[in-house]
C-alpha cells in the first residue's frame, strides 16, 4: 500500500485505466467485424485498412511488438475464432501483412481500403477462395497500409514495390502543390499529409535543400506542397481542407504534420497577416472545453479524437503546456468503457477503435500513459506526434521530421529524433 500511495501522489489523481479490457477489445474487434452478420463490419468494410491500422496502433501502445504480432496475427495467420461458416471447420484468418498486399491495387499502384470477398479475406482451409479484388488505390488507405507494414517491420517485404507506390503518390500532386486523394480528383490537405508521410515511410521523400535551390529530379514538389498548406491558413491561425475553408482541428494536424515532415515549420511565422505559430497554438488551446475534453471547432462538443489531432499539433509546435493536460487526461479516462474495454468519443458513449486509438495517443502525448505504467509496473510504448506510430518504429526507420522548441532547443525524449527549430530565435519570432 505504501508503495502505491507515493506513486498516486506523483501521478495526481489519475483514475483507473482498463489496460486488459482495452487490449482484449482491440484483439477481438477483428473477429467481430469479420462475421458476415456484423452490421458494423459491413458498413465499415470500405475502410478496413484504416480500421486495422487503428487497431494495431492501439495495441502497439499497450503491448510490445512480439505480443502484438502474436495476438493480432500480423505475420502469421491466427485462429479466426467461432464456427460461423456453419460447421465448416474453424477458420484461419489470413496474416494481416498478407491481407495488406491483397489490397494493393495493381492498376493505380496504391492500396485500397479492402479487397473483395466477405470481410477480411477469410477463407476456410481446404476451400478455394476467389482471387482478391482490391478496391481502388487511395492515399488514405495507402498511408494506413504503409503504417501497418511499418509496425510489422515489413517495409522491406519483397512484395512491396516501393517505386510503384511512390509513383502513385507523386502522380497525385497538382501543379499548385496540393494532392488529390485518388485519380478522381478530390483535393484536401488531409491528402497532403498522407502523401508526404507515405513518401517518408518509403524513404522516397526529397527534403528541400537549405540553400533554396530546387531539386529538379525530385519525385514531388515538397516546397509546393508546403506552400499549398500555407494557402489553407485562416485568420485564426488554423487550417482548413482547401483554401477558403474554415479551420478545423483535424485539418490542423494534417497541415502541421505535413509542414513538419516537409521541414517547413518556419513558414508559420513568415506571413504578414498577423498569423503565427502562437496564434495557431492558442486557437488549439481554446479548443479545451469545461469538461477538460477538446473540441474540433469553436462551439462544438468535446470529442476524444481531438485529443490526438490537437495534442499532436501542439506537440509539434511546442505548446502542449497551453492546455490543462491533467483535466484532458481525466476526460479521456472518463470515456473508457469499464465493462467491455475501448474508448468512446464522449463519456457514456459506445466505444470504437478509432476513438480507442486516438484516446490512447492522447494519454501518451500528455505523459499519462507513462504515469499509469509507473503505477501499474508496466512500460508503455510512446506515440510519435508526427507519424502516428510508436516512437520505437519511427526510430527504427530513421524518420526525421521537424518540431519547434521554446526551451533552448530542449524537447522531451520522444521528440529527440526530429530536427529542432528553436522557437525563441528571431528567425521564428
Amino acid at each position: 500500500m505504501s508503495a502505491f500511495s507515493s506513486t498516486d501522489a506523483e501521478t495526481g489523481a489519475i483514475g483507473p485505466f482498463h489496460d486488459a479490457l482495452h487490449a482484449r477489445y482491440v484483439v477481438e474487434l477483428g473477429h467481430r467485424l469479420d462475421s458476415p452478420t456484423s452490421y458494423e463490419g459491413a458498413v465499415t468494410e470500405h475502410l478496413r485498412m484504416s480500421g486495422v491500422y487503428w487497431s494495431l496502433g492501439a495495441l502497439s501502445l499497450l503491448r510490445d511488438a512480439d505480443e502484438v504480432d502474436a495476438s493480432m496475427g500480423l505475420r502469421g495467420g491466427v485462429d479466426g475464432g467461432g464456427e460461423e461458416n456453419g460447421g465448416g471447420g474453424r477458420r484461419m484468418r489470413r496474416a494481416i501483412v498478407d491481407w495488406v498486399f491483397d489490397c494493393r491495387d495493381p492498376r493505380s499502384g496504391g492500396f485500397g481500403g479492402n479487397c473483395s470477398g466477405a470481410a477480411f479475406g477469410v477463407g476456410t482451409p481446404g476451400t478455394a477462395t476467389t482471387t482478391p479484388c482490391p478496391h481502388h488505390g487511395h492515399l488514405l488507405y495507402t498511408l494506413s497500409a504503409l503504417q501497418i507494414l511499418a509496425m510489422a517491420n515489413a517495409l522491406d517485404d519483397e512484395r512491396l514495390d516501393k517505386d510503384a507506390v511512390a509513383r502513385f503518390v507523386s502522380g497525385l500532386q497538382n501543379p499548385d502543390g496540393s494532392f488529390c486523394g485518388d485519380e478522381w480528383g478530390e483535393v484536401d490537405t488531409r491528402f497532403t499529409y498522407c502523401a508526404l508521410s507515405c513518401l517518408a515511410l518509403l524513404g522516397r521523400l526529397p527534403i528541400p535543400r537549405n540553400d533554396g535551390e530546387e531539386e529538379d529530379d525530385a519525385i514531388v514538389d515538397v516546397r509546393g506542397a508546403a506552400r499549398y498548406v500555407m494557402s489553407c491558413r485562416n485568420f485564426d491561425g488554423g487550417f482548413g481542407c482547401v483554401p477558403g475553408a474554415e479551420s478545423h482541428a483535424g485539418q490542423v494536424f494534417c497541415c502541421i504534420g505535413a509542414l513538419s515532415i516537409a521541414h517547413s515549420l518556419h513558414l508559420l511565422n513568415e506571413g504578414r497577416d498577423g498569423c503565427d505559430a502562437d496564434l495557431l497554438a492558442w486557437w488549439l488551446a481554446e479548443r479545451q472545453c469545461d469538461s477538460g475534453g477538446l473540441n474540433g471547432r469553436p462551439e462544438k462538443q468535446a470529442d476524444v479524437c481531438y485529443s490526438w489531432w490537437i495534442l499532436s499539433a501542439l506537440s509539434i509546435v511546442g505548446r502542449v503546456s497551453w492546455i490543462n493536460t491533467s483535466r484532458l487526461g481525466q476526460f479521456i479516462l472518463n470515456c473508457q468503457d469499464d465493462e467491455d474495454g475501448g474508448i468512446a468519443d464522449r463519456p457514456q458513449d459506445m466505444p470504437d477503435v478509432y476513438h480507442t486509438f486516438f484516446g490512447l495517443c492522447g494519454l501518451s502525448l500528455i505523459g499519462h500513459l507513462e504515469k499509469i505504467g509507473n503505477r501499474e509496473g508496466r512500460t508503455y510504448r510512446e506515440v510519435d506526434p508526427v507519424f502516428a506510430l510508436p516512437t520505437d518504429v519511427v526510430r527504427r526507420l530513421g524518420l526525421r521530421a521537424q518540431v519547434i522548441s521554446y526551451s533552448n532547443g530542449d524537447v522531451e525524449d520522444r521528440l529527440k529524433m526530429h530536427s529542432i527549430l528553436d522557437g525563441t530565435k528571431a528567425s521564428l519570432k
Binding site: T130, P175, D176, F235, A285, D290
Partner: protein, 491 residues
C-alpha cells in the same frame, strides 16, 4: 461511435429482434458488395479465360459480360444505404464515363478503366444530383457524396462535346447558371438543418467560384485578361491564399481549390487539360462586373442573415473574413491611392464593428472574438497611409476599448446581482472574451507609432490587469496568458 449512448447501443444489440434485423442488413450489404466487385471484374477482364477454366468453386468466368447499367444500379442501391465508400462512387464514375464509350465503340482496350478514347460522353446530370442529394440527406457529412456532386457538376459543365463560342450567347449558359443557382438553394436548405456543416459551406464556395469563374468582362474582351486585371488590382499578397484571390485568379486556381486537374485531365480531349475551367467559364459565359458583384453581395448578405439567426455561427464569420477583401475591391472601384484604399477599408471595418460585432458582443459575448481579432488585424495600417489615417485607426481602437469596458462593467453588475447565465461546456468562463478583446485592442494600441506620450503606461497597466483577470477566470490556459504578460514586458 459518435453520439451513440453506450447503454442504449448495447441493449439494442441484446434485443434479438434488432440484432437479427441488423444481421440481415449486413448480409445483404456483403452480398451486394461481393456482387458488385465480381461483376466489375467480369466487365473489365480484357479477354475471356480459355475454355474449361471454371474455378474450384464452380464459378465460370466465361459468363457474358454484364452491362454497365447493372453496375450503376448496384452502386445506387449501395450508396443510398451507405454514401461513404469512395470506391463505390469510383465504380459509378467509371460506368458513367468509360464503359458506355467502350460499349458504343466496341473497342478492345488494354486498360478498360482508362481507355485512350477521346470525346468521352457527357453524363446525364440529373440522376447524379438526385442520388447525391438523397445521400447527403442521409449523411450530410459524407465526403465522397459531396465530391461526387462536385465531380458531376464539373464534368457536366466542361462537356468537351459542347461547341462553345465565347463571342455569342448560347442557351447552355442559362442552363448552367440555372443549375448552379439551384445548387446555392440546396446549400441554403442544408445549412438551415446544420449551420456549421463545413462540407456544405465549402460546397457553397465551390459553386460560387464556378458561377464567378469567368471573372469580369474587360475592355479587351478576354476572360484571361480580365481575371489578371482583377488579380493585379486586388491585394492578392495581403490575402494570399484566401478565398478572394482564389476567386480572382481564375484558371486553375478557382477550381484547383477543391477538385482538380487530374480529374479534369481524365475527362479531357484535346486542348482541355488543367484549363478545364476555361471551358466552364465559357459555358457559363462571361459575367459582367455587376453580375459578379451581385453574386458576392448575395453571399455577403447570406452570412449576415446566418449571423442574425444565431450570433454564435463561427462558419458564417469565417466566410465573412474571406468575403470582406472582395467587398473592399467592389467599393473601391477606381480609387487606388494607398490612403484612399485604407480609408475605405477602415469604413468597412467600422461597419463590421458597429453593425455586427458590437451587437453580437452585447448579446452573447463568447463567440465572435476571433472575428473581432481578424477585423483589428485586417485593418491594421501600414506606415504609408499617413498620420491622419493612423489616427483614425487609433480612434476606432479607442472606441472598441470603451465599448468593451462598458460591457465588462455591465457584466460585473449582473454578476454581483447573481444573474450569471448558464453556460454550455464549449463556452469560456464569464467575460473571458471581453477581457481578451480589451487586451487585444490595448496591445494593438501599444504598437501604434503615434500614440500620445504618457498614454502607454496606463494601457500597459490595463492590459496587464486583463491578463490577471484572465488567469483567474480561465486557469486552464494560464500559460498562454503568462506568455502574453511576458510579451508586454518585453515590448
Amino acid at each position: 461511435m459518435h453520439g451513440q449512448k453506450r447503454s442504449e447501443y448495447k441493449s439494442r444489440l441484446l434485443n434479438p429482434k434488432t440484432s437479427s434485423k441488423l444481421a440481415t442488413k449486413a448480409q445483404q450489404w456483403n452480398h451486394l458488395s461481393h456482387e458488385l466487385l465480381t461483376q466489375r471484374r467480369r466487365l473489365l477482364d480484357p479477354a475471356p479465360p480459355p475454355a474449361g477454366t471454371a474455378d474450384a468453386a464452380g464459378n465460370d468466368d466465361r459468363v457474358a459480360k454484364p452491362s454497365s447499367k447493372i453496375l450503376l444500379t448496384l452502386t445506387e442501391k449501395m450508396l443510398s444505404v451507405n454514401p461513404d465508400p469512395s470506391h463505390l462512387w469510383n465504380i459509378r464514375r467509371e460506368m458513367l464515363l468509360y464503359i458506355p464509350k467502350m460499349e458504343e465503340d466496341a473497342v478492345v482496350e488494354t486498360d478498360p478503366i482508362r481507355p485512350s478514347v477521346t470525346n468521352l460522353p457527357n453524363i446525364d446530370i440529373q440522376p447524379e444530383l438526385t442520388l447525391t442529394a438523397h445521400c447527403l440527406q442521409r449523411n450530410p457529412k459524407a465526403y465522397s457524396a459531396w465530391h461526387h456532386r462536385k465531380w458531376s457538376l464539373v464534368h457536366f459543365l466542361t462537356n468537351p462535346t459542347l461547341e462553345v463560342d465565347c463571342s455569342t450567347s448560347f442557351p447552355e449558359t442559362d442552363d448552367a447558371r440555372k443549375i448552379l443557382r439551384s445548387e446555392l438553394e440546396l446549400c441554403s436548405q442544408l445549412l438551415q438543418l446544420d449551420e456549421r456543416n463545413f462540407h456544405c459551406w465549402n460546397y457553397r464556395r465551390f459553386v460560387v467560384a464556378l458561377l464567378g469563374s469567368c471573372g469580369v468582362r474587360s475592355t479587351s474582351g478576354s476572360v484571361q485578361d480580365a481575371a489578371e486585371d482583377l488579380a493585379a488590382n486586388s491585394n492578392v499578397d495581403l490575402f494570399s491564399g484566401s478565398w478572394s484571390s482564389w476567386l480572382n485568379r481564375q484558371s486553375q486556381v478557382s477550381m484547383g481549390a477543391q477538385l482538380l486537374p487530374s480529374a479534369i485531365k481524365f475527362s479531357s480531349n484535346k486542348g482541355m487539360n488543367c484549363e478545364g475551367v476555361q471551358y466552364i467559364a465559357k459555358t457559363i459565359s462571361m459575367l459582367t462586373q455587376e453580375e459578379l458583384e451581385e453574386i458576392i453581395n448575395n453571399e455577403w448578405n447570406f452570412t449576415n442573415s446566418k449571423i442574425q439567426d444565431n450570433f454564435s455561427n463561427g462558419s458564417a464569420f469565417h466566410y465573412r473574413s474571406k468575403l470582406l477583401p472582395l467587398m473592399l475591391e467592389f467599393r473601391l472601384q477606381s480609387s487606388h491611392s494607398p490612403a484612399a484604399r485604407y480609408k475605405e477599408s477602415l469604413v468597412l471595418a467600422r461597419e463590421e464593428w458597429e453593425n455586427i460585432l458590437l451587437n453580437a458582443i452585447f448579446t452573447e459575448p463568447d463567440d465572435q472574438w476571433w472575428y473581432h481579432r481578424f477585423i483589428v488585424s485586417w485593418v491594421k495600417p501600414s506606415a504609408d497611409v499617413g498620420d491622419e489615417m493612423l489616427l483614425e485607426y487609433e480612434t476606432l481602437l479607442f472606441e472598441m476599448a470603451d465599448s468593451l469596458r462598458e460591457l465588462l462593467e455591465v457584466e460585473k453588475e449582473n454578476g454581483a446581482l447573481g444573474n450569471a447565465v448558464d453556460r454550455d461546456e464549449s463556452k469560456g468562463a464569464k467575460c473571458k472574451w471581453a477581457y481578451l478583446g480589451l487586451h487585444l485592442v490595448l496591445s494593438t494600441l501599444l504598437e501604434s507609432k503615434i500614440l500620445a506620450e504618457g498614454k502607454a503606461a496606463d494601457l500597459i497597466e490595463e492590459a496587464g490587469e486583463c491578463l490577471t483577470e484572465l488567469i483567474q477566470i480561465d486557469p486552464n490556459r494560464r500559460e498562454r496568458y503568462q506568455n502574453f504578460a511576458a510579451e508586454i514586458i518585453r515590448a
